[in-house]
């Protein structure tokens, strides 16, 4: 059964990708991308990668199509028919890459084998000892936030960088002049959607926080929480307009929060330095090692969540401001 689901999902992924090549409309492409995201997330679920599925759902099917759409709204949605495009070279390049990839798979451990080297060396320790060492059931979170916490710090920094980069490129409302105020324009009021969303948004936000704090026990964690939280805010922004959402959470505050999230993470690590232990060693936080791990993980996950949410909101602000400016 697993295999069947597997094959079905993979085939659909291929079909989606092929359609993406054939389709010319950008909105159509974006819809297909979002479908691709959903499909791959489902695939991740069947592969037991729940945390990844969680993230891919939020990102691949949520945020990234949204960003794409906002861009397309700016730039027009028709992809032009290429006049004379040489496809021979790309085809060659792709073929070479493909052949190399296939060569690469030839000596790979067979799919699903339990005695693959990857499962023999480093991973077993995570599975067997993280329970004692870290004390939380979700091994992915243990690895993410403790064994390889430094990678995750890098990840937070990546997303922070993206935020800074987007602001640098597009500028935020409030940085370039004042917040665009489109109160004067009559926007079509969409009663049904607005009212329903108003009811749903608090639950989304709270659910995001739930995901934030239950990452140790089940799928989820700071990153997923941040994305969902930001999505809730973005929904509000989409429905009520940029000025309203900027009133709720002013752009400078989001920007500062993004930095503070990173700092929260990094300073949690620096605490260990002060005690002479290696960076990101949580054992300074409490006398009992397991409690210390728990505290440390909670703290850094919070940092991740804050940064991710703020950066995504920031990016939304930047795009939305650009969009409303372009419309004028």
């Amino acid at each position: 059964m697993e295999l069947l689901v597997d094959i079905a999902l993979l085939s659909m992924l291929v079909a989606t990708a092929v359609s993406l090549i054939l389709v010319r409309g950008l909105v159509a492409s974006i819809m297909l991308t979002s479908i691709y995201g959903l499909l791959s997330a489902s695939f991740f679920v069947t592969m037991d990668a729940v945390d990844v599925a969680f993230t891919e759902a939020a990102v691949g099917a949520g945020v990234s199509p949204l960003l794409l759409l906002m861009t397309v709204a700016l730039v027009g949605r028709v992809e032009q028919q290429p006049r004379k495009r040489h496809i021979a070279f790309p085809l060659l390049l792709v073929t070479v890459t493909g052949v190399l990839l296939i060569v690469g798979t030839l000596d790979m451990p067979p799919f699903g084998s339990a005695d693959a080297p990857a499962l023999q060396h480093v991973a077993p320790r995570y599975l067997q000892q993280s329970g004692e060492e870290i004390g939380i059931p979700n091994v992915v979170t243990s690895v993410l936030a403790s064994y390889r916490a430094y990678d995750t710090l890098g990840e937070v920094l990546v997303i922070f960088t993206a935020g800074i980069a987007v602001i640098l490129v597009l500028m935020l409302p409030g940085r370039r002049g004042s917040v665009p105020d489109d109160a004067g324009r009559q926007r079509p009021r969409n009663v049904v959607v607005n009212v329903v969303s108003k009811i749903l948004i608090p639950f989304m936000l709270l659910f995001a926080l739930y995901v934030q704090f239950h990452g140790e026990y089940g799928p989820g964690g700071g990153f997923q929480a941040g994305v969902i939280f930001a999505s809730g805010i973005i929904l509000y922004g989409l429905l009520y307009g940029l000025p309203s959402v900027c009133r709720v959470i002013p752009p400078p505050v989001v920007e500062a929060l993004a930095a503070l999230g990173v700092l929260l993470y990094a300073l949690t690590g620096v605490l260990a330095l002060l005690d002479g232990r290696p960076f990101l060693d949580y054992s300074v936080l409490a006398t009992d090692p397991v409690t210390a791990q728990y505290l440390g993980i909670t703290a850094i996950e919070l940092g991740v969540g804050v940064t991710v949410a703020s950066v995504i909101i920031t990016i939304f602000y930047a795009f939305a401001a650009h969009l409303s400016e372009a419309q004028r």
Binding site: V191, V192, V195, I199, L206, Q212, Y236, S244, V248
Partner: protein, 156 residues
Amino acid sequence: MRYTIAMACVLSLFWLLNSGHYNAAMLGMGACSVLLVTWIVHRMQALDHESTPAHLVLRLPRYLGWLALQVLASNLDIVRRVWRRETDIDPVVARLPLPQSSDLGRVIYANSINLTPGTLTIDMGEDYLLVHALSGDLCDALATDEMSARVSELER
């Protein structure tokens, strides 16, 4: 204030039901989360009778029960239409009056129409609903105003 408390309560309930971990730390974080969300929602100026329709709680189940039956019935109808050899549809677009005064009532009405397969609100004006129905009789059924009346009653 009333709405704020109501919202906080609902959110707390949501947290407690979802969480499954009831130690002090978790509950503390839950409390913080609820407060934070409530505060943000407050800033959104979204705390009103629309977002926390506590006043409907008593009358709602009855309406929902009725609605469920409607949904079931119209579902069967659609199923029949779909599986016919020639898809048996005869779409119409119609304007229905919108007697409800509050936004909430209108929304409930509109969404009830949407929930019921075969009918779909396309647009909502000040005093009318633009409805698309798969066939004239479905539209006529709506036009009998039973649903509208029930929603208005709910609203009262």
